[in-house]
Amino acid sequence: MEKLNILVLEDDKLAQKIMASRLAAHNVTLAGDLKTALKKIETESYDLGFFDLMLGPDDDYSGLRAIAAAAARNIYAVVVSSSDSDEIIDRAYELGAGDFYAKGNEESNVAEILRKFIQNRKAAGRADIFTSSFITGDAETKAAAGEALKYAPTELPILILGPSGTGKTSLAKVLHEHSGREGAFVAINCSAYSEDLLEAELFGYRKGAFTGAADSRKGRLLEAHKGTLFLDEIGTMSLGMQTKLLKAIEERSFYPLGSEKPEHSEFRVISATLEDPQDLIAKGKMRFDLFQRVHGYSINLKPLAARKGDVFLLAQHFTKGGKRLSFTAEARAWMEDYAWPGNVRELKKFIDLLSSGEGGRVGLETVQKHLKGGQGAPRRTHGDGMDAVYADALSRGLEAALENISAEIIARNLRENGGKKTKTLADLKISTRLLYATIKKHGLETQGDK
């Protein structure tokens, strides 16, 4: 549980003792009078404060002054009082109180206040993510990432899907940062290594394990102990390597190369692939049991071309603190219509290029000069569905994109026909061979041999 800095203003010694016990898991400061509380508020830093309003039998609700001071210092102020006077409670809210509860049953009252406070702070943190670490204004992407963030503090493995350069690593990092895991975020791009090198990178090795192993080295799995292991491009891993990784994930232990002593590591797996995992399984390139192990929750990131509004949001973010760029109306329109086959990564490179060389004002000619293929560069077609297909074709090739669409159409028609193959053959005017090949490859449900 998150440890909070809490101030309690309470004149009654017994009530102080009770609050100290109920808040024992946090850093608590007790103030017995208004003067002490005001000084603490001014000089110390607190997340929230519990304030009694009537400090002594003849006091005139002087605790209200502490509420105002706390609110001014952005401390979440909770009123704790035996007064049921609406006037006093309204006054406390006017002064900036965030919550109120009547004294008594502190066990559930305090727990509920803390639960709400932590939840609200996390929600506020999520909103900030989209303007600081995972930039997007796209409602669909925000919703999907927000949903994934709900699973950040769990052990559930997360699989991030999406074309190259869409921000899969950034999202994985954000998920780790919100996981509360004390270990490190360790990323490895599986496509960058040959099978032998990947094994050495992941599991580590002992001195002399192979030619060139002059010293022992800790593997990424061990580096990720109590943290997160991010496996990028997991689909490129060989089947043999997948078997070894699966064993390490399941047993939480593994043998470094050349070692007979097993190592233990409690890492959480987040993985990413730009290919369709079902397709990889159908092609025999991905083990089904490994897929089962890594896809507890899946999130699909849209290509930049399908998040038109993000182009200038990201451009602005990339120039933060550096040279400000201003684009002419023609340049803006062209950029918004551009297909961005390299997605966010391409945009970042483009902005870096502009920031380091050209002047602050950027025209159409400059934009066309730097983006792929100049004037003949790929442009996004209109309609969001088509944008995604187009970006998919640019990312994986036209043949793969068309095959995907063909499979989707056949699957839909089979569903609508209750799985009757003869009806689908007639409806779509396709060959028996194409239908059966698609059913087998994608594991589509059909009804007998109708």
């Binding site: 017994l14 009537m54 004294k103 049953n105």
Partner: protein, 59 residues
Amino acid sequence: MTPDTTKLLHDIKSRCASLRNAADLFKDCSSGEKKEMLALMTGAAEEILKTVTALNKAA
């Protein structure tokens, strides 16, 4: 000066709530804490008696 009965009632409610909370906590306290808690509970009870006496005079 006549004591403000609203404030006296508030004080009684507040201290009674603390006593109730203390009773809830008591079983989970260590023996050392129980001693401290009992002293505080006794103090609170005495304060309640004083306030009720004041309220009796004011009523």
